[in-house]
Structures are given as C-alpha cells and as structure tokens.
C-alpha cells in the first residue's frame, strides 16, 4: 500500500477498513497537496455527471465505454486495462480512490473490475459523490490537477475465478448462499414485462431458484454511506444466516448493484469468498433451460 490507510474511527469496525476513505480524509489530502501516488477516479451511472463538475484532479472511468469490451461481451483484457491505466495516470503502485453517483454502485463495480486485475490498492470514497456534494466540498469542471498520463502499466491477465461467477457456476451453486440484490418487484417477477414499450428486455421475470432477496440499498445509509458493521451483520449474518467462511454469490440485473453488495460482504464483513455473477438477470432471465422461481419465496433447487 502506497498511502497509509484512513485512520478515521468510523471505519475501523469494518473487516478491511483500508478499503474505504472518508470525505474528510480525501479533502484534507487534496487541500495539503498530498496527492503524490494518489489518483481519484469518478465512475458514474450518468456518463455526463463528471463533466458537470467533479472532485478536483479526478479522472473519469466509465464502466460501459472504458471497462467493457463490446465485442466479446466481457471486460477489457490486460492490454486494454493497461492502456486505460496509462491514460488515467495510474501505475501499479498508485493508490486509487473511486467515487461515484448512486451510493457508489458504479464505483464499486469499477473497483471490482480493478480487483479482477489485481490492482494492489484501490479504495472507495464512503458516501461517494452525493456525500461530497452534500458537504459543500469543492467541485470543478477544470482539468487542473488531473494526473498526467503515465506509461508501463503491466498487461495483467485478469483473474476472474475468485471474484466472478459465470452461469455454469451459478447452476451448480443453487441451494448455496446466493443473494439477489434487485428490487422486490424484480425478484418476484412482477416487473420486466411492459406491453408495447421498448425496453432492454429480459424475457422472463423472477429470480434464480433459492436466491435470497436483499435489495442492495439495505446496506446503504440515507446519506449514501455504508451502514455500520453491526447493522450489516444483522442483515447478512443474522437475518440470512450466511457465514463468512462459506463461498457466496451475488447478482442483480447486469452486475452493478451486486458489486455494491459484493464490496459489503468482502471488504466490510470479511466474507472469504464472494463472487459477483455479472451476467446476472439479463443473462439468466433469457437463458435457454435455465430454471427460475417467481414470487416472493426463494423456491426450491429444481430436479436435474
């Protein structure tokens, strides 16, 4: 780790407090000009939000335009990621602090992709863009302070297996600790079908059999920050009865909201093995012969 972790007491209860920084910590560093080895990255759902104003010196990485390979329907490869890092002024030694809109959905998703490439030090700004703005902290449309491009980020072969689940993995996993983080209406299947309206389109509504429903937002406080560890424990450990030592899979519609829950389980609660099924409902809901369950109950493991 290049830069010492944020020592704020509010973070210390989490399993891996070094994965979060507070707005105050970041503001203090920026004010003191202590940005050597630090790159702040904004990653939003709305691709134009960065242009309306961003944290001074922050660069933008867009999940769709920068992290996806549209041809392979996959993430960029090692060379693509290295190119993006070079353009963003990020070396393998850089401490990356990610923040974004929507309680950091997309920032968490980008962080997960950084971890697929094993970037050594990548953290989230707790509360994201909304918390920074709500506190009246400095925003700018200027490029000033933006890191100059670097070179030589190594082409790392992405290591998907520990962090990423594919449909075959999920099919073999039914009955295991599986969390659907979408809204209750998407889980039950009442939402997705709207006659006469164009939409992104999943053919079937419902959820993966045996998945438990915990909408992602239950992990977020009203101000967009993560809830304290005790509250998170009461949801994921007590209510669901899930165990930190048992491999767990999370999913949503395209894998972004579930990246938020993946972050909570992995870094805040210390689950040892959590994989994000990024194919999520857009793949599963349309998959030929993939079983689904409808209604509010998780359902049974189908006979095979």
């Amino acid at each position: 780790m290049t830069i010492a972790a944020d020592p704020s007491p509010s973070l210390q209860d989490y399993a891996h407090p070094e994965k979060l920084v507070t707005t105050q910590w970041l503001a203090d560093r920026l004010a003191a000009g202590e940005t050597e080895g630090l790159v702040v990255v904004e990653s939003d759902e709305d691709v134009l939000l960065y242009e309306t104003g961003h944290i001074p010196g922050a660069v933008k990485i867009d999940w769709h335009l920068d992290l996806n390979d549209p041809v392979t329907r996959d993430y960029v490869d090692g060379e693509g990621f290295a190119k993006l890092m070079d353009a963003s002024g990020i070396t393998r030694e850089t401490t990356v602090v990610l923040y974004g809109d929507k309680s950091n959905w997309w920032a968490a998703y980008a962080l997960w992709v950084f971890e697929l490439f094993g970037h050594p030090d990548v953290r989230l700004l707790d509360g994201g863009r909304a918390a920074w703005e709500a506190e009246g902290r400095e925003m700018t449309t200027s490029d000033e302070g933006r890191p100059a491009p670097t070179s030589g980020y190594p082409a790392i072969t992405r290591e998907d297996a520990p962090l990423r689940a594919f449909r075959e993995d999920v099919l073999d996993f039914l009955g295991g600790p599986l969390i659907d983080v979408r809204s209750p209406q998407e889980y039950s299947g009442e939402r997705t079908h709207m006659p006469d309206y164009p939409q992104e389109g999943t053919v079937r509504g419902g959820h993966i059999p045996t998945a438990r429903s915990v909408p992602w937002a239950r992990a977020a406080a009203d101000d967009g920050r993560f809830k304290p560890r005790t509250e998170l424990e009461s949801i994921y450990r007590e209510e669901l009865g899930f165990d930190t030592a048992t491999p767990t899979i999370v999913y949503c519609r395209i894998g972004e909201r579930s990246a938020h829950t993946w972050f909570v389980l992995t870094h805040l609660l210390g689950f040892e093995s959590v994989r994000n099924y990024d194919g999520s409902w857009t793949e599963w809901g349309n998959g030929v012969r993939l079983p689904i369950a409808q209604g509010a109950e998780p359902g049974e493991v189908p006979a095979r």
Binding site: D46, L48, L49, E51, T52, D101, Y197, P198
Partner: protein, 155 residues
Amino acid sequence: MSAADPMTPAALPEGFAGIAEDFLALGGRDRLQLLLEFSQGLPELPERYAEHPELLEPVPECQSPIFLVTEVEGQGREATARLFFSAPPEAPTTRGFASILAEALDGRSVGEVLETPDTVTGELGLAEVVSPLRLNGMSGMLARIKRQLAEKAGL
C-alpha cells in the same frame, strides 16, 4: 416514402439534421460538452405541470428518472405538438436527450413527429460517447412521445 426502404437511408428530419451536423463536427470530449450544453438548456416545466407531476409519464428505459408529457394544439396530423420534460440535475445525460428531442420536435406538426424514424436517435453521433445502451433511453422517450401524440391528436 423511401423511409420504408432499408437500402436507402432517409435524410434526417429537418429538426434533427442541424443537431446531428453539430455533434458530428466535434470529437469525443467536445461532443459530450455539447450534450452537456443541451442538458443545461432543457426548458423548465410550465407551472401547470411542475405542480402536478402525476400528469407526466415515466420513461423506465432511461436509467435515471425522467418524466414527459405532450400536448397537442388542434386535431389530426396538422395539430401542433408540444413537449414537456422533467429530469433532475443529477441526470444530465437524460436531460440532454430530452433537450435534443425538445429542440428537434417541439412546435412541429404531429404528423412530422410521427414520421420521425425511430432510428434517428442513433444517427446523432452519440452512441460512441454515451454508449448504445444509454442511448436506449432516448429511443424510449421518442416512442412514448409518438404514442401520446397519436392518442391526443385522435389518430
């Protein structure tokens, strides 16, 4: 009409041609800046809608919340189409889309709006800078505008 013939792409409708030209003349980052300018120029809702948000129709194809409502002045294809949108400032892309549609279509005849090809949203040079997935939101708005106008104009 040649619009039905997929081999000869129809010229862009009048309202969109200038907008497309402006976008296509710019490179990636500047294209986003222009979209930002559109988003900043989205007209405010008139009071009669600002006070009655329930009269507006949601557009779930957009990832961000946007609502729209149309009015027609007159009847039939010659009636004048009026468009009104509401989207929060934290959704600038969606506001930009709405603002483009407002500039291109507001005040035109219902017939002209209904003849707008559904593919027009893909011809403004925006897919590369906002992603095709996000662009679906603008198609969703256009489809809803057309359906509302057709109903309201008695077509």
